[in-house]
């Protein structure tokens, strides 16, 4: 099929499903700020694996699994005990369990390897993973674990959801939070242990963390987050295995993780709203709007004495009025002129400008909101008139229309607001003071 060998298909199915279940259960861990718990778990599983081998005497996936789950759960319990009953903080507790359990695992491993049958254990593969050596039995286990994880998540979706967002509320509502917590941890442990032979200890943590973090960039809804995390995990498993198959027998585990990292990187850059590029654009747009509004307000304030006649304003006056640099003012004037909010007066190099009708109405809106907020601050927040200008300057750009309407009706009812006109400034407009404040 698709020109791939049976074995490659098997590995692709295995890693894909592993990525899927690790992504889904890991997303919960990421949401609950327990991302590194998976890391601690996969390290803590090692001594369990070794003891299981010592007791059973040969390689058996199920026995290994049971041993690993037991020591993983003990590790998680240790972290939670240390966190709740000692002054050790969670990060140190995770690090302690991780390193000490792992050290114990290495000790046991070194003892096993000295024994006659030690080399058969294949325990080494649990450290770094040997994806290519996956057999049907491993795939069957992964399918079982994935089905179990998805089934339990589906059954307890509502419970896990409430637990993830507000544990106290869940407890107050009478949910068995401790049991649910433990159930989630056990799912995490099982998935981790199922993944160890394929990708190894360190990279298993990556499969748990990276899909969830990537999905978080795209959505604020838990159901979509889980779907996306599962999808990203699946994709990194499949793509990683395919790549490592094509590319000169690179080890599959790291390539799978790097595929995930690339999905993370792309999500971080390009996701709408939360992505870095989108956030930078939003930020720039806001800055542009604020600057435009400040320009319009300066025009209004400079031409206010002569209203309704529109006074000519020079570029220099604007520079002086707001404390902008000449370059900034020129850029702002150009963009405002392009939108026909201002028009040049006289020769193009005369640097004289006048508001257009559209510009005047936009400027009046800005000034209204500014003064509205100033009056509100003076009357209701007890702020001195000579201090309100700067506060209003920061807030005027982000007041919502609803809030503006409420402020207006409030002040109108108090007889302090001329309906639908620009009120006089509650303080003296002094260009020098303004620019000093602006540059502060």
């Amino acid at each position: 099929m698709f020109g791939l060998q049976y074995n490659t298909l098997l590995v692709i199915a295995g890693t894909g499903l592993l990525g899927l279940s690790a992504g889904v259960i890991g997303a919960f861990a990421v949401l609950r700020r327990r991302a590194l718990m998976g890391d601690a778990l996969s390290h803590a599983a090692l001594p369990g694996l070794c003891i299981a081998f010592m007791l059973y005497g040969e390689r058996n996936f199920l026995v290994f699994m049971i041993g690993a789950v037991i020591s993983g759960v003990i590790g998680v319990l240790c972290v939670s005990l240390l966190r709740h009953h000692t002054r050790i903080k969670e990060d140190a507790a995770i690090g302690l369990v991780l390193s000490v359990f792992y050290g114990a695992g290495i000790v046991l491993l070194s003892i096993i390897q000295r024994q006659r049958n030690g080399q058969q254990a294949g325990l080494e593969s649990y450290l770094f993973g040997q994806t290519a050596s996956m057999v049907m039995q491993d795939l069957a286990t992964i399918i079982g674990v994935t089905l179990l994880t998805l089934l339990i998540l589906l059954l307890f979706y509502k419970e896990f959801k409430i637990l993830s967002f507000d544990r106290e509320f869940a407890a107050v509502q009478g949910w068995p939070t401790l049991f649910l917590d433990l159930a989630m941890m056990v799912l995490l442990v099982i998935t981790t242990v199922a993944g160890l032979p394929a990708v190894g200890v360190v990279l298993m943590a990556a499969l748990l963390i990276i899909p969830g973090v990537s999905a978080r960039f795209w959505t604020d809804r838990l159901d979509k987050l889980l779907l996306l995390a599962g999808l990203f995990g699946l994709l990194s498993g499949v793509i990683g295995t395919l790549l490592s198959d094509k590319l000169d027998d690179l080890p599959a585990g790291p390539v799978i993780v790097l595929s995930g990292s690339i999905i993370f990187f792309l999500s971080m850059l390009f996701a709408p709203r939360r992505g870095v590029i989108s956030r930078v654009l939003q930020h720039l747009a806001l800055r542009g709007r604020v600057a435009r509004q400040n320009l319009l307000r300066s025009f209004y304030e400079l031409s206010e004495p002569d209203l309704p006649a529109l006074k000519t304003v020079s570029t220099e006056a604007l520079v002086h009025h707001r404390g902008w640099t000449l370059g900034e003012v020129k850029r702002l004037l150009n963009s405002a002129q392009a939108e026909k909010q201002i028009e040049p007066v006289g020769a193009s190099d005369a640097h004289q400008w006048r508001l257009t009708a559209a510009g005047l109405s936009a400027a009046a809106d800005v000034v209204r909101v500014h003064r509205l907020w100033e009056i509100f601050l003076i009357e209701h927040a007890d702020i001195a008139p000579d201090h309100v200008d700067r506060d209003a300057d920061q807030i005027e750009h982000i007041l919502s229309p609803e809030l503006i309407a409420r402020l207006e009706s409030h002040l109108f009812n108090a007889g302090r607001w001329p309906k639908a006109a620009v009120p006089a400034s509650p303080h003296k407009i002094d260009a020098g003071v303004m620019s000093a404040k602006e540059s502060a």
Binding site: I88, G95, Y102, I209, L250
Partner: protein
């Protein structure tokens, strides 16, 4: 001979190889333990873990550029990547708003994956493999010796000696800055100390130690030593300088004991050293003098005992008010306080103390016990009066609160409460509030 340089080792009668192993491990452990204290206080313990994994591509890079296993290029490469880990984590947290632990997880696993691939590419040319990074080659590294100033030393001892000396110089020179940055980075900034610079210096030192140590002891021991000794020390003291000292001693002890246990078993020496460090930490958690579990349990038990003792006294006082003709039976008293070991012990303790005495059909207060009981009952009833008069509590909500508060009211508070409710003679339930007569302490009434 090295043994004569450090007489302490003669104690164990080490051969050359054992000396090399223990000396290397001690130097690694002390360096890690000292730095680990600062990481622990800044809640960055896991950054040490992250860095020690993430340096893998740095090592590979250093090797690829120079095509040799010389330590310095690899050290430089790894330090670069180590600092990069801290930097990338910070960038992801700040700019992409990823939670810090998740950011760290993404960064170090990705770097580790890159490192494994790079090493896979170069592994055919050199015996540098990923498992060597994890386990270390303590046993073989010990054979590799070098001669400095006429003294023959294992190369790892020399390298780690230099690194350890650097760490100690770093800590001593920047002691004040490290301390203030660890406890309060914002205060440090206002004092003109650049917390970021100190942070990255610390990260570079962690990276340097990790790299220098990896070929000898592997990253497991480094991670364990960055966290366990510091955590153990933090359970034992509240002073920074003593914490560093204890952590260093704990590192030395882990090295010596770990080797002693591992050797006869033929087990991994670094692995056993980290297990020993974990065991030392466990002991510290249990037996720590002021934050240990045992002392905390003891303190809780003493508090419970005091409260139950006081409950017995006030119960006997009330019993006297209701039925002065009949003594309260011991078993009744125990049952009324919930039964079990604690009330039984409390009554025995009170008898021993001479605050209560055996009577024909039960137990009763002695004069000494009555004085204490009066104080308690007075506190209780005044508090009920206060809740009702001043705070407006309904009558059926008074007792539970007073039952708790009576154990924690001191003389001054009793006086203030009494003043606030105008020194009533009876409480809201109509019971008399005990007065000064027979009282050893001034209960604060105004006559």
């Amino acid at each position: 001979m090295p043994q004569s340089l450090l007489p302490i080792f003669a104690l164990f009668e080490y051969d050359k190889i054992s000396f090399a192993i223990v000396a290397t491990a001690i130097l690694v452990n002390v360096s890690c333990a000292l730095l680990g204290c600062f990481l622990l206080l800044r809640r960055m313990s896991l950054l040490g873990d992250a860095i020690s994994h993430a340096i893998l591509p740095g090592l590979a890079l250093g090797f690829m550029l120079t095509q040799s296993r010389a330590i310095w290029p690899m050290l430089a490469g790894a330090m670069f990547v180590g600092v990069l880990t801290a930097l990338l984590t910070q960038v992801l947290t700040r700019w992409a708003r990823v939670p810090e632990d998740a950011a760290m997880g993404v960064v170090f696993t990705s770097l580790f994956a890159i490192g494994v691939i790079m090493i896979h590419r170069v592994a055919r040319q050199v015996d540098l493999d990923a498992s060597c990074v994890l386990y270390g080659m303590l046993e073989t590294a010990a054979m590799d010796t070098t001669t400095v100033a006429g003294v023959t030393l294992p190369r790892t001892v020399l390298t780690m000696g230099i690194v350890c000396a650097l760490v100690i110089v770093f800590v001593v020179l920047l002691w004040k800055e490290l301390k203030i940055v660890s406890f309060d980075p914002d205060l440090a900034t206002t004092q003109g100390i650049n917390a970021n610079v100190i942070h990255y210096l610390l990260m570079s030192m962690v990276a340097a130690v990790t790299v220098a140590a990896f070929e000898a002891v592997g990253s497991i021991l480094v991670v364990a030593m960055l966290i366990a000794p510091a955590a153990a020390a933090s359970m034992l003291t509240d002073r920074m300088s003593i914490m560093l000292l204890i952590a260093a001693l704990c590192g030395i002890a882990s090295a010596v004991i770990g080797r002693e246990i591992a050797y006869p078993l033929g087990a991994s020496v670094p692995g056993m050293m980290s297990v020993v460090a974990g065991a030392i930490f466990t002991l510290a958690v249990i037996f720590g003098p002021s934050h240990g579990l045992l002392i905390k349990a003891l303190r809780r038990w003493k508090l419970s005992l005091r409260i139950v003792r006081e409950d017995v006294l006030s119960m006997l006082y009330r019993w006297d008010e209701i039925s002065p003709e009949r003594a309260l039976q011991r078993s009744q008293a125990q049952a009324a306080l919930g039964g079990g070991l604690l009330p039984r012990f409390a009554i025995w303790d009170l008898l021993r103390d001479g605050r209560i005495k055996r009577e024909a059909d039960g137990v009763a207060l002695t004069e000494r016990g009555r004085r204490q009981a009066q104080t308690l009952v007075k506190s209780h009833r005044l508090w009920e009066a206060y809740l009702q008069k001043v705070l407006g509590f309904p009558a059926d909500h008074l007792h539970a609160s007073a039952d708790r508060t009576e154990h924690f009211m001191n003389e001054g508070l009793v006086r203030q409460v009494a003043d606030a409710v105008d020194n009533p003679r009876i409480d809201p339930h109509g019971k008399p509030i005990p007065r000064r007569e027979g009282s050893r302490v001034d209960l604060g009434e105004k006559e």
